[in-house]
Symmetry: C4
Subunit: 233 residues, 4 copies
């Protein structure tokens, strides 16, 4: 039987998971990245609780958008329902990543959104990275991971999720996404970097205001959208 999930994309999801480790964003088995095959709607994700040094591309678990396993012998990451909800609600995603990276998690634990304080942030996130509302006891008691995805989608209601491809789940930590698994994990890396910068910025000047519109527009739009001129053609 031929593989249902494209081999190249499987490799990309595998490398995206390793990138989280290489960038120092995960401890132990924390964190996970997934990727979706637009043609079939199948999603490949890290198996649950497998140490990264042991991880091989064939360990990835492939599921459909309803969560039914179609390839793989291991249990998928316990965060799978969150990933699937994001793929269902945010069309255009190619990958999702989740970490407990230190500085971004501190903002999530403090219940504080991460405003755009400089051009580093503006180059990747078109404004404030929001924090979700607290989940209700009944949202936690049943279908917790699915409901985590739902409160993320609620947070982005009326917004283009690829303009700010990151969220801070309150008391928990960041989820990021992108048009590919690699894009999702790079947004995890950048989010942690700008969260560190923001921690230091607030230590120096607690009342620092978010970036004004012109500079925010300039930096986001020189890298994204029709007028972009950053990088190679």
């Amino acid at each position: 039987m031929p593989a249902l999930f494209p081999a190249e994309l499987r490799q990309a999801v595998y490398l995206a998971n390793l990138r989280l480790v290489e960038a120092g964003l995960v401890v132990g088995t924390w964190g996970n990245a997934s990727g979706i095959d637009a043609a079939t709607g199948l999603v490949a994700i890290k198996p649950s609780g497998v140490p990264y040094p042991d991880l091989r591309p064939e360990h990835l678990v492939v599921v459909d958008l309803a969560g039914t396993v179609v390839e793989g012998d291991l249990r998928p990451s316990s965060d799978l329902p969150t990933h699937l909800e994001l793929y269902r609600r945010f069309p255009g995603l190619g990958g999702v990543a989740h970490t407990h990276s230190t500085a971004a998690t501190a903002f999530a634990q403090a219940g504080r959104p991460l405003p755009c304080l400089g051009t580093t942030h503006a180059d990747h996130f078109y404004g404030t990275v929001p924090v979700t509302r607290d989940m209700l006891p009944e949202e936690i008691a049943a279908d917790y991971e699915l409901n985590t995805g739902r409160v993320i989608a609620e947070t982005f209601r009326g917004q283009e999720p690829l303009h700010v491809p990151a969220v801070l789940v309150a008391h928990h930590g960041p989820f990021t996404w992108g048009t590919s698994p690699q894009g999702a994990t790079e947004n995890s890396v950048v989010l942690e970097a700008v969260a560190q910068m923001a921690l230091h910025t607030y230590a120096l000047a607690p009342a620092t205001a978010p970036l004004a519109g012109p500079l925010l527009d300039k930096h986001f739009l020189r890298k994204h959208g029709p007028g972009a001129y950053y990088g190679q053609r």
Copy 2:
């Protein structure tokens, strides 16, 4: 004469000690990990003051629960009496670890317990990591390391020590434990990570409240206990 201490467990204790170095938790010869053989009650521990690069499995010192050396030519870690008191008082332990990791030690030095501020903490520690009371001059003057174990046990009176497998010894630093040497050192690694997150969280929001019950229960119990569904079966 056959070895009294199981070779596989000796190797596990050896690797647990190296893990403390790999995770960046120790400077110089600081820190130590031990493991207990449930069948015999024998404990293997790092020798005192031996640099980690020179450490070999055969250097580990094996003692009985009264502290009598039964295998090994070197002196055991000076913290041995603390480890032994924890094994005697907390049935079910398989390993104990001690570090002076930076952020956890800062909480110990500040005399502040480490409340559960997020799900990273809740995944491993079922509530506040407590700080011990100050030791009395007479507890310091004689049997200091034994008394360190006693104040730890006193701190956990009436509590299941495997629910919160870590303590901050006031003015000193963290001890952690687990059902294996590897589990004990992983708790040292996680404790340092959540202490770093807590430092940043308090910098952003000094009055952050501990996690409410439903989220604490959800995260601890999805990884621990009969209803756990994290990891592979």
Copy 3:
């Protein structure tokens, strides 16, 4: 046709770019270093958006001081117009570097200059590293990168730029320079180190005054200028 840009200087610019990575100052494709050939006025700079692991000396883009590409198939760094303005306005420069290093960027985001708080700073920067004024919407809308160079030059009006070879562009991050590409990147490295020290110093003593004149003079002048006695002859 012989190469227009000296091979040895090309190699130096290449290594200066790699040095930014090695020193932990860049994430992803951020940051760039350039060098100028004094004989011809030609400038070699990193291409835009190329990952550092893929970068080869032949990828560098060579332009004249007006920005016309004379060697290379790739697009130059989008920050090129800033570099060129600095070469045009600050005679004597041999190299320019730009990073988003964490602590220096935090000062830029906070809109705070970085005063000389100790001899580490004084050894490399002869006084406060200034922060630029905010750019006007019209300076951002058109020729943004060129105008970034102009506000830097405006900040140094009447000052010798090699005495304080660094600036914090408000809401953005640091640019540094030197008499060579290597000198420029070393100033990026040192700037980040002294910014980290300053963050901690202000945490301990928010009202710390800048270094008094005699110690500032002593340290800067023992490494720079006619009476220097640091290093080998």
Copy 4:
């Protein structure tokens, strides 16, 4: 002609210098370590401004206690007169080290001594690591490095320098010493670690009091002096 400086001690001084790099305490060419041969009073020290990767044992410069070079073709570290003054004033020293390590330098820049806040500190330093007084303009103008040694010696007047083998030179950074070059650099490593812990401790509890006498005595004396029982015999 036979070498005047013992080859084994030369190697030890060389390795002590490399240890500063390995421990992440130096940037560029900052920092230096020296060692003294008790038999001859000759001192070997790092040459000035030589990058660590290029450093070889034969590059070390050997001087007598008056500073006259007796072996080596390079100029000694510009901090040599400070080292020599410490050897002359503090009998029993075997090595001296100097770094600009981040957290210790922050205390020096803030003009704050580093009190003993926990047992990690007490294991190595028998009380507060002091900060020197500010140097006078005339002490800076002439014989600056010698006068740096003098204000250090003044700071320790009436104290045993091996009980607290470290000092914070105001606005500058730490010097440490020990009975060997290796001991001196290990004290640099530990000083930076306890300074980091202290930064975090003060962030959590600004009014943290220094360790009380019994715990300070216990920890310092179990590693130092006639009743020591830490390490191997």
